[in-house]
């Protein structure tokens, strides 16, 4: 029987392979009392379990390739220290001795007590993260159970090139092992497109679907499946012709990737002599390396939300290291760092805000940052400190008003002064730009441009707000239309305001990285496009072969005419053939 499960594609790639299910299985906690003569052997069992858990993590760290993130490495190091912690080991052993109870029971009691002590501390900044202790203790419990002893190492086969791993959720340790073993594709039941696992998969270009409900129940071990990231579907029980179709599709896209590489070295100028710039979007270090490989001149958008995904907030130094690593990876090419763009559907739980009645219109983007006070200061300080190592620009998300820019500038100025007093030479001219992604910002763009050094258009949000369409709402998403005259009018308005104020305008939403719409932007005079590095080669080819004058002509006619519903749509008219 054939079956199609849907979820959300993290990348648009295709993977074909056999299902391997990762099921940690719920561990029960046996509770029993020991006879006097059993205490010694129980203590031995406890120490051996800790030892094996610790050795597993040590091995994993030693084998870890450099592509794995600093965050994952830090997490694993922290877990390792917990497994060597005398308070945990000795405390558990003491319970075994004094209460005559088994190791599992004693361990859980001791861990609970430590969790309670951390909760009482009340300072979440200095405390240990709940999940770190849980995960580390989980390793020991598995060892004690002598059950799938170690989830990651023993359950994951060594060769995964033709394997699609299905799991409830994937953590940093699993992702590390899976990526190293070159997994073909990933399917998780939970987790969103901005989870650690998803960001890492995107960065490493591993096809992945998240939010596939009941995948573990519905997909059988060893079953051959097709993962189509573009349509967000896993196809099981497909017939041979469908497999052949997808194999062909996968090979064609690989061939095309190789073919497109030859355009990368060419100067970025259209057929009729219009220069354009292609920039990269990046989160993690591998993204920056990919950006360099495809020859970007700058990073148009470095998102910082991933730093806030954890249970604990990133301190200034953690952020500074991440930004500095990015700056160094780009070797002198400028990086635009966007300050925390949380809120809406991605409000980190840790910030302790409850969702407002309408998150899309609520506390998000710069509004959230300005209300965070010290946390925003930490981020700005970290960015400014990193700017000493190479060119950096700051990008403020979700603007609606001029005074928001002034408030942010005041904070940036204050941080700069503080750092100067601490002996750090921060560039006084460090450019500050704003995201134009709300109707208010787009309509009032002249005033905003007067206070900013550059503009960046977030087309995803802008289109969503202008058309009042949530693209994830299946009942209305057929109305999502980037060629809607209202959208084009605003894009044109932003471009013109940028030109008047000498503010460079970059487009960094999905429209920039989509072959179907890049020429539309060219036709609007928007020639700085920032996109994921994987999209760049195809966009470059499309623009090299385009005529800017023709594109402008077509867009102008479209805007002037009342035939927006003409048989041939705008995008078809702009496309090469």
């Amino acid at each position: 029987m054939s079956l199609a499960l849907t979820g959300l594609g993290v990348t648009s790639g295709i993977a074909i392979g056999q299902v391997h299910r990762l099921t940690p299985g719920e561990l029960s906690i046996p509770e029993y009392h020991l006879g006097d003569d059993a205490v010694g052997s129980e203590l031995d069992r406890l120490h051996k379990a800790f030892g094996r858990g610790e050795k597993f993590l040590a091995d994993l760290l030693a084998r870890m390739s450099k592509e794995i993130t600093e965050t994952a490495r830090d997490l694993l190091e922290a877990h390792r220290l917990i497994l060597r912690d005398p308070m945990l080991i000795e405390g558990t052993a003491e319970r075994i001795r004094s209460k005559r109870i088994n190791a599992e029971w004693a361990l859980v009691q001791q861990a609970d007590q430590l969790q309670a002590e951390f909760r009482r501390m009340g300072d979440e900044y200095l405390a240990l993260r709940r999940e770190d202790l849980e995960q580390a203790v989980g390793l020991v419990r598995r060892e004690l159970a002598e059950q799938p002893a170690l989830f990651v190492s023993t359950q994951i086969p060594h060769r995964l090139e033709a394997t699609i791993v299905v799991a409830a959720e994937l953590g940093p340790a699993e992702m590390t092992v899976l990526a190293q073993r070159k997994v073909a594709g990933l399917v998780t039941e939970h987790g969103g497109p901005w989870s650690h696992a998803a960001i890492l998969a995107r960065s490493l270009e591993i096809p992945m679907l998240v939010g596939v409900h009941h995948a573990l129940d519905l997909l059988d071990e060893g079953e051959a499946v097709i993962l189509d990231g573009h349509y967000g579907a896993v196809l099981a029980g497909a017939d041979e012709s469908l497999f052949a179709h997808y194999r062909e599709k996968r090979e064609a896209s690989q061939r095309r990737r190789i073919e497109l590489r030859r355009y990368l070295g060419r100067p970025s100028v259209t057929r009729d002599g219009q220069a354009f710039s292609l920039l990269g979007n990046a989160d993690l270090l591998p993204d920056f390396e990919r950006c360099r490989e495809v020859g970007v001149k700058a990073i148009g958008l470095m998102r910082t939300e991933y730093l806030y995904l954890d249970d604990a907030l990133p301190d200034e130094d953690t952020q500074y290291r991440a930004y500095r690593a990015a700056v160094e990876a780009m070797q002198g090419r400028p990086i635009t760092i966007r300050t925390l763009d949380a809120g809406g559907d991605k409000l980190p739980a840790i910030l302790g805000f409850t969702k407002g009645p309408n998150p899309a219109l609520g506390l998000r983007g710069l509004r959230l940052s300005l209300s965070l006070g010290e946390l925003f200061v930490q981020q700005i300080r970290a960015i400014l400190r990193a700017s000493v190592h190479g060119p950096v620009e700051i990008l403020l998300p979700m603007l609606t008003r001029r005074d928001e820019i002034r408030q942010a500038r005041n904070i940036i100025d204050r941080c700069r002064e503080e750092l100067r007093a601490e002996g750090m030479a921060v560039d006084p001219e460090l450019p500050i730009g704003g995201m134009i992604e709300t109707p208010a910002a787009a309509i009032d763009v002249d005033h905003l441009a007067g206070e900013l050094d550059f503009l960046s258009i977030g087309t995803n949000d802008l289109i969503q707000y202008v058309l009042a369409i949530d693209r994830s709402d299946e009942l209305v998403n057929y109305l999502y239309d980037p060629t809607h005259p209202a959208v084009l009018f605003l894009l044109q308005r932003i471009q013109q305001a940028g030109a008047r104020h000498g503010c460079p305008v970059t487009v960094c939403g999905e429209l920039a990285g989509d072959e179907r719409t890049a020429r539309l932007l060219l036709g609007l005079g928007l020639t700085r496009l920032s996109m994921p590095p994987a999209a760049l080669p195809a966009i470059k080819k499309s623009l090299l072969e385009a005529s800017a004058a023709d594109c402008q002509q077509i867009v102008r006619e479209w805007l002037d005419s009342s035939q927006n519903s003409a048989e041939q749509g705008l995008l078809e008219r702009l496309s090469p053939e």
Binding site: D74, E77, A78, L81, I82, R84, D85, P86, M87, L88, L114, E117, F118, M121, D123, Y125, L126, A127, L128, R129, L133, A312, D315, E316, D317, T318, Y320, R385, E422
Partner: protein
């Protein structure tokens, strides 16, 4: 047995990363190690103990070591604290 007062001068105090470095340092030596802050005294080889001190920047700590290599251990810890745990300021 030797002991010495130390002042935390890194901006963030004994947060997770600093505590990790501290424990990695004390664990290199055979001597037993304790750290006190106010009325709390913990095993300085325990990451959770060190974190439970909840010591912010500016805290006065007392480090104690007992064992053959206590002098070297104290020296190493003092160097780490004075170097502000390698955090760039």
């Amino acid at each position: 047995m030797i002991s010495r007062p130390l002042t935390l001068s890194n901006r963030l105090g004994l947060h997770a990363r600093a505590a990790s470095k501290l424990v990695q340092t004390t664990a290199r030596f055979d001597s037993a190690a304790w750290l006190s802050h106010g009325d709390k005294r913990v095993n300085a080889k325990s990451i959770m103990g060190v974190l439970l001190l909840g010591a912010p920047c500016g805290s006065e700590l007392i480090a104690e070591f007992d064992g053959e290599d206590e002098a070297q251990a104290l020296e190493a810890l003092e160097a780490l604290v004075n170097d502000r745990f390698g955090e760039e300021q």
